[in-house]
């Protein structure tokens, strides 16, 4: 039975090793815009995942280099908070239309995503540059008003 124990321990150790090293390699800190700005210089260069509300009028797309620039406004990350504010659609609307919210400039190189528009939620992974711009490697977008979350009261009008 001993050889089975040894085999099992080797396998277990291998799996633990894989999980630990991969977690270290793949970890991305989940920040809101406020949290990222608060950390300042400390956050520069570390992989981060960040979410915010897209401000439509700031979207610029350079066709020659496929470089996309836009600003996002701070919004709460916690789903409980989002519920308190009356759903994701409303939270996004408030974030974009509240000038006191912290804003962050984002740069992304790639095709212009289909869902990028005013009051979309952008979820990005990337790094904060020394110039204060967030360089995104990956960009996911959610437009809640298109789907189920929209409050029925809004639909009635």
């Amino acid at each position: 039975m001993n050889k089975f124990m040894i085999g099992g321990i080797i396998l277990l150790a291998g799996v633990v090793f894989l999980i630990v090293t991969s977690t270290v390699a793949g970890a991305q800190y989940f920040y809101t815009v406020d949290e990222l700005i608060e950390r300042g210089a400390e956050a520069v260069g570390t992989p981060a995942r960040i979410s915010g509300a897209v401000i439509g009028e700031t979207i610029e797309y350079d066709l020659a280099t496929l470089t996309l620039n836009f600003e996002i406004a701070h919004m709460p990350a916690d789903s409980q908070l989002l519920n308190d504010e009356g759903g994701l659609a409303l939270a996004l609307y408030q974030a974009v239309n509240d000038p006191s919210r912290t804003r962050l400039r984002v740069e992304y190189v790639g095709p212009l995503p289909d869902l990028l528009q005013n009051e979309a939620q952008a979820i990005m992974t990337g790094r904060l540059g020394e110039d204060g711009i967030f360089y995104a490697d990956e960009l996911l977008l959610k437009c809640p008003t298109r789907y189920e979350e929209a409050a029925p009261e809004q639909t009635g009008n």
Binding site: V15, G26, E35, L112
Partner: protein, 698 residues
Amino acid sequence: MIANVGYGALVITLLTALYGIGAALYGALRGRPRWVDSARNAMLLTFPLLTISALSITALLVANAFEVSYVQAVTSRSMPTYLRITALWGGQPGSLVFWSWLMALFATAVTLRDWRRDREFLPWVIVVSLVTLAFFLILSIGFENPFQRYWATPSGAVITAMFQPQGTTLFVPPDGRGLNPLLRHPGMIIHPPMLYLGFVSLVIPYAFAMAALVTGRTDDRWLRLTRRWTLWAWVFLSLGLILGGRWAYDVLGWGGYWGWDPVEVAALLPWLTATPFLHSAMIQEKRGIFKHWNMLLVILTFEVMIWATFLTRSGVLSSVHAFAQSAIGPLFFAFIIITTVLSLGLLIKRWPELKSEGELRSLLSRESLFLINNLLFIAILIVCIWGVFFPIFTEAAGVIGQIFPGVAHIFTGQKVTVGPIFYESATGPLWAALLFLMGIAPLSAWGSSTARTLGRAVWKPALVATLALGAVFVVAGVRNGVALLALWLCMFVTAVTLYEFYRAAMARSRAHGMNMLVALWQLAGRNRRRYGGYIIHLGVVLMAVGIIGIELFQTETQASLALGESVTLGRYTARYDSLAEFDTNDNRNVARAVITLFKDGVPVGELYPRRDYFYESEQPMTIPGVRSSIEDDFYILLINWQPISTQTATFKLYHNPLVNWLWFGAAIFLLGTFVAAWPEKEPDAVIETRARRAAVQA
């Protein structure tokens, strides 16, 4: 009216299910077969009742009944009828009813089988199936009612309720919000039902396992009875996952098929427990060992399946898929915890009766290698669960930091997530190890096997694989170390599997003096599970080759082109010929470019990458132009263009080597599962009768 009928049918189904649970329990515990028969009839009634409910939703969807909030949320006037019908599973409330309907269908099919030999299982299979069904019905009726309607109050506000609140009038919105254009793809239309079929089908083996534990009939009868159910569940799960990948490849416009999105990972979890279960069940049937392990696996599979249904539907995970957010999460958790505690309690009670009839003797025996296979799958499962829940763990771990200030800098409570890099680097070696096992396990012997005997069987296919790899190295010029290792494993498995077919067909053709091909055909007919399994292995190898191709050798470029200009990527050159913009009668504006594609300077055809703009949902959708061949895909996206002059346009190009092997391999994989699941020529009753007769004669 129709809404009331559908809702009424849901409520009556729930009452029927609750009665069935009570009757089955009473009948089983008091030994009253007539009560069990009554419970069986209740079970049979749930399917027609839920059919009424599902048809009601469908009728409302087709009839544009926008006063029903679900209809308003998922359809619109401009949608074709087939999309309105499939909108049944386009949102959470409809999905849950659809889930229940499939569950009732499967439970009915089980109930209608011949129970004479397994009478004692019947009440408990009914109880487990109906409890699961009742849980989903409670969700539908109490929390996610698809029949709720809009009502206008005198003050002008619009509220949703099932029945007319005092002083309100029915409110009918002029049009619905419609289905997200990204989801209007055949792959996406059949992907959710396939996953759901897989999910509900997994309830059946679990129900039989629980019946075995309750009744104490703990031989492997429950395994034999449910083998085919598990296999079908596995086919549907696999098909669902593959279709999801195909949808992403065709629609999401990034030239990929799997992004390790948390919801994708959640849908993979039940597959990661069902696959080892299929393997280790064979060992129990053959050798009478792994009995505890199989029980654990079937319980784990059921819980993970419920969990996956919850994860994909609750919105706890921030992900592109989480369109649906609702308050049913705590109920799912309660259901999972209660069923886990009960199942494990039963298992502990029967633990001594599930003693192994044999033992593992050799580390290299067939059964040991199957055990390692199981552990590797479970390791991948742990990696995936760790990844999916890491953000939640890290946030919750803030509590540790607060209690112990000394480690506060480690446990900050900051939400940390892990991306695709984590999954790729943590599961990559485990997948590779599984491939290797797929190669050596068919060559190992049952019982005891030594390194020497195994080595004698392995060296020939290993040599063939090495020679083939040499050819890839020299001819195709592959120098990537990871790719070479992975390709070697693929060729090794292929060599072993083909050799197994050859050896068995050869023996058969010699023994019976028949043609090789006839022998091969009959072979697959005689031992379907084994040779079906080998065909599945070959499919997996082909899929692995496709994945190696696209993951390690994908190239991309982008260019802004004037009319007549070209861009080159590898051996391909794309010439931009023209662009047209027009409106269609289904409310789209289409911008469509014409590209002439050249391979090594020879024209090979035209591609039409386009961008559809949906007026109604104000959303564009990018549809790639793709040229597919066995060798590669050339994949081109129209990114942008000058709207007035249509002179210049910007394109993104991908070259995806070998990617079609992934889809082709998937087809072989499915073929293999059909071979394995097809009923054997002789039902086991006949075999047993014959065995008994032989025993009597002896």
